[in-house]
């Protein structure tokens, strides 16, 4: 029996190192495209590789990257979440409103309480959206596209209703602390949003690859009924995934509103397409079963580098939009290289 675990197969060669693991994944090829793009951009604009700009880029992609991690989970299960943009606005708005009304009521039980309570309220609101999505999709078995398109509209509507269209902004005694934990920089260089992103990505990577839960997420995306037949609690995992996605979007919303110092009612309008694009460019497959944390981040960096680089290179703004589209397609095209090489 000992020998059985080292069975060898005469007809099986070893796969080459570039045909395995990360190097054979779409993420790796998009990473290569990203590096090429960064070299081009730095040639076009001398400001591109300055410390200040890199810090800007880092912060900007962190804004959508946490939500992209969340949506990647959803996409791996074969679902989609169009409501992330609205959820970003909701959690930002709720956080600001709660902070404002605690200041107005002068309710301040412990130091930092206004900060903690308002952030929790924002996350709770986002989580509630995710719970609604998850329950509707898992239990009522509605199509994720239609359900989350519905919540996109519902949640945005509620944000308008709650603020009469005016949006809200963080105020009160803990405002400075709020700005510090959302828009601050660690060691004066690294945007704190990036630190959050790294933590989230690491947790997600471990969860996907080294826990049973992660395998269940992949199993649902690759063959939902197989997951059900082998006793995986498909409904529960799906609900969890949608809640996590909304929480990630909520966290993103709070961070953005801290940086802006405001939660406008139209915050993050139409971000859902960018966020999904980032996940897909980074290798998540909308058919389900494929995706990962590293890819999601690479996708976000790619999109932000294109945007930022074109502005810095002073490309005619009307051409910028056309170019963004073209470069996104080109970046994904490199992935074809992979398929061709790996047969």
């Amino acid at each position: 029996m000992a020998g059985s675990t080292v069975q060898t197969f005469s007809n099986v060669g070893r796969t080459r190192f570039w045909q395995r693991g990360f190097l054979a994944s779409q993420s790796a090829y998009v990473l290569a495209a990203l590096i090429v793009l960064m070299v081009v951009m730095s040639l076009l604009s001398p400001n591109f590789l300055t410390a200040g700009n890199i810090s800007n880029i880092t912060r900007n992609f962190s804004f959508i990257a946490i939500a992209t991690l969340g949506i990647t989970l959803v996409i791996i299960t074969g679902g989609i979440d169009l409501s992330v943009g609205s959820t970003i606005a909701l959690s930002a708005t709720v956080t600001s409103i709660v902070m404002g009304s605690m200041a107005a009521a002068n309710f301040y039980p412990f130091p930092g309480s206004s900060l903690v309570i308002s952030i929790l309220a924002g996350l709770a609101a986002a989580g509630a959206v995710g719970l609604f999505n998850g329950l509707t999709i898992a239990k009522l078995k509605l199509s994720p596209f239609v359900t989350t398109l519905g919540t996109l509209s519902m949640v945005r509507g509620l944000v308008y209703v709650a603020t009469q269209g005016r949006g809200a902004f963080p105020t009160g005694p803990d405002k400075d602390l709020f700005l510090l934990v959302t828009a601050g920089k660690v060691f004066d260089v690294v945007p704190i949003a990036f630190v959050y992103l790294l933590i989230c990505a690491l947790v997600m990577w471990v969860a996907l690859n080294h826990t049973a839960w992660g395998k269940h997420v992949f199993a649902i995306g690759s063959n939902e009924s197989a997951g059900r037949l082998t006793g995986v609690n498909v409904d529960r995992v799906k609900i969890q995934v949608y809640v996590l996605c909304s929480l990630a979007a909520g966290l993103n919303g709070i961070i953005i509103s801290g940086w802006l110092g405001s939660a406008p009612a139209n915050l993050a309008t139409a971000y859902e397409l960018t966020i999904i694009a980032a996940a897909v460019i980074g290798g998540a497959n909308l058919a389900g079963g494929v995706g990962g944390a590293a890819g999601a981040i690479i996708g976000c960096i790619l999109i932000e580098v294109i945007r930022n680089g074109l502005v810095l290179a002073r490309v005619d703004p009307y051409w910028q939009q056309a170019l963004v589209g073209a470069i996104i397609v080109a970046a994904v095209l490199v992935d074809r290289l992979r398929s061709m090489r790996n047969g």
């Binding site: 826990t211 395998k215 006793g231």
Partner: protein, 238 residues
């Protein structure tokens, strides 16, 4: 142990029982309702009418998960594999091996791969535990589905055409396996279109035709010819 079924269109008033350590062959033409019967027992479909008794108590099996907890393992005809997971991950899907770090539980990848390789070796199958099921041959996929039932202490194993796609030498191993299960007191329902297999391992054979049970007799009192006649409808009932 008794199981009674009402009818969903594909199945009308089929009822039979099976004892621990008994191996029952379930045969019938294509579309006779065999897989439907299996899916009811394993909790995928709910019977439109009729009841199910397991271990003396009336069982209400709402989902495949519940069936598994009761000790009912199934090899499905469509195999129920997740293409994007490896063979080992498929085998352990839903009951992964884990170790604890504080409150967290992480996967024991190596242990699972090793155990999966053992199971394949036991089935004499040339299937690599770390390969993705996506790129496996038909027989290798079937081996994965069969290996899955070996993990737990089942009381009843349903096998829906487990030998359809596998090669001669593994067929022998699967029949061996069924013998060993029987000795361990596990009940097995074997669906197969291969007459010799059924006659090699089963004690009793149930024949279905167009959703009804037309025969339920001991192998000893029957013959391949009779069963064939029952399947094709040349003989009405026995």
């Amino acid at each position: 142990m008794t199981k009674e079924f009402g009818a969903i269109r594909a199945l009308s008033d089929v009822s039979f029982e099976i004892q621990p350590g008994e191996v029952v062959g379930l045969m019938g033409d294509n579309g006779a309702g065999k897989s439907t019967l299996v899916k009811i027992i394993s909790g995928i479909y709910h019977p439109t009418g009729g009841t199910l008794t397991f271990d003396g108590a009336r069982a209400n099996i709402g989902s495949p998960g519940e069936a598994r907890k009761l000790g009912i393992e199934t090899v499905y005809q469509d195999l129920a594999l997740a293409d994007n997971l490896t063979a080992a991950e498929n085998i352990f899907l839903g009951r992964e091996l884990k170790y604890n770090i504080g409150p967290f539980r992480f996967l024991r990848h190596n242990a699972m791969n090793a155990r999966a390789s053992e199971l394949f070796a036991e089935l004499k199958s040339e299937t690599r535990a770390g390969d993705y099921v996506r790129q496996m041959s038909g027989g290798q996929r079937q081996a994965v589905a069969i290996a899955r039932t070996r993990l737990s202490d089942a009381k009843l194993i349903l096998m829906d055409e487990p030998t359809a796609a596998i090669s001669v030498r593994q067929v022998a191993e699967v029949l061996n396996l069924i013998h060993r299960l029987k000795e361990a007191g596990i009940a097995v329902i074997l669906i197969s279109h291969r007459m010799p297999d059924v006659f090699a391992v089963c004690e009793r054979v149930i024949v279905m035709r167009r959703g009804t049970k037309v025969a339920d007799k001991a192998i000893a009192n029957s013959s391949p010819e009779e069963v064939t006649a029952l399947i094709t409808g040349a003989k009405e009932a026995a």
